[in-house]
Symmetry: C2
């Protein structure tokens, strides 16, 4: 029974890694689509999100099957519950990448990226891609030291998010409303993306050490 | 054992109802705080969110305990897993009410509600409060007919959300950047709030009928 459970967990883990890899590709492409107004690339992200959704539902079904058939308790049970939550977070991160791609598509053929914000969104996207890569690595290796790197990168995303609003509100010239809407939403999506990754990382640390950093979100 | 499980489920249900009631109060107060720039009311919502967070964590612990001690299978297992997810959605709805309150506090003593958007946000808030009330009722009665009412109200919120952007982008006068940011974020928070309620309602219908409306989100 113990051996069966161990194999099941390995299956869960490899599927989480797979979904996290798809999410990494999605946020990478979405950032590029948004930065370069590449509508074909945006379409790829949008079409690809249904694959992430399906794989997430399949993983949930597997986790529920494991609960039913193997009835884990104590730490084993918490690992399976954490997998359910991680699946939900990854699914949501995929949605957020899709939303960024939708912004790029919506404004096409105009540029989605508002004037003066190019480098900020490039940095934000770069951090989110790095966070997604690190999250994949954390899920693969269970090396909780990676959680710190994710939190640090999230702090940078939060700073960039705050800087977007400072820039929008401090602009000398009258703002183009569409640009302000796009900057606000894109920045929010990037910030939420990073926040979900931190949430998953916290759960991994909790499972590994029993040290719960705390409920709720780190968002400001 | 069956009787014990039944009692446990009643406890889970009554706690979900309690959290949903707190979320209803939160979105009601947040809407009023945002509409009238009532910073004291905003502070109440912000302080109250930690209670929602705590109760949500406690409910999760109870659900995990039920899984460990009573090892439910089949539909019983799915009910407990659905409770875990509902708890996460309610916690998030509380966060969104808090974010709306934070917008009111951030702009104080100026008005948070952008000029020309008063009635739109009043309607949006009213719909969200109604949705939260209906969700509480759905959790209390398990009457799946209420799920339709929630979906209809969510459609209205989506329309109001779209109208905010139309109004912002179609404005004749140069937009005040702060007003555009606030309108964008507040509208997004209201829309997400309703969306989470629809997600919970879908799970309830699924549990009651086995008829899964589909994964992912209804958001556009």
């Amino acid at each position: 029974m113990r051996e069966v459970f161990h194999q099941s967990l390995e299956e869960v883990q490899s599927r989480l890694v797979e979904i996290s890899e798809l999410v990494t590709v999605a946020i990478d492409k979405a950032t590029k689509a948004f930065g370069t107004s590449d509508v074909a690339l945006a379409e790829e992200v949008i079409a690809g999100d249904s694959v992430i959704d399906e794989k997430s539902v399949e993983l949930d079904e597997l986790a529920i099957e494991i609960l039913a058939m193997q009835q884990p308790v104590a730490r084993d049970l918490r690992i399976v519950v954490a997998a359910l939550r991680t699946s939900a977070s990854l699914e949501r991160m995929g949605d957020l990448a899709e939303h960024i791609a939708q912004l790029a598509r919506m404004r096409y053929p105009e540029r989605a990226i508002p004037k003066g914000f190019k480098s900020t969104f490039e940095q934000m996207g770069k951090q989110d891609v790095e966070i997604a890569r690190q999250l994949t690595e954390l899920l693969r290796t269970q090396d909780v030291a990676i959680a710190d790197a994710i939190r640090n990168a999230d702090d940078e995303v939060d700073e960039l998010h705050a800087s977007v609003f400072e820039k929008v509100l401090g602009a000398q010239t009258a703002a183009d409303a569409a640009a302000v809407v796009d900057a606000t939403l894109a920045s929010r999506y990037h910030e939420r993306f990073a926040d979900h990754a931190v949430g998953v990382a916290k759960k991994m640390v909790y499972l590994a050490t029993g040290d719960w950093i705390g409920p709720g979100e780190s968002e400001h």
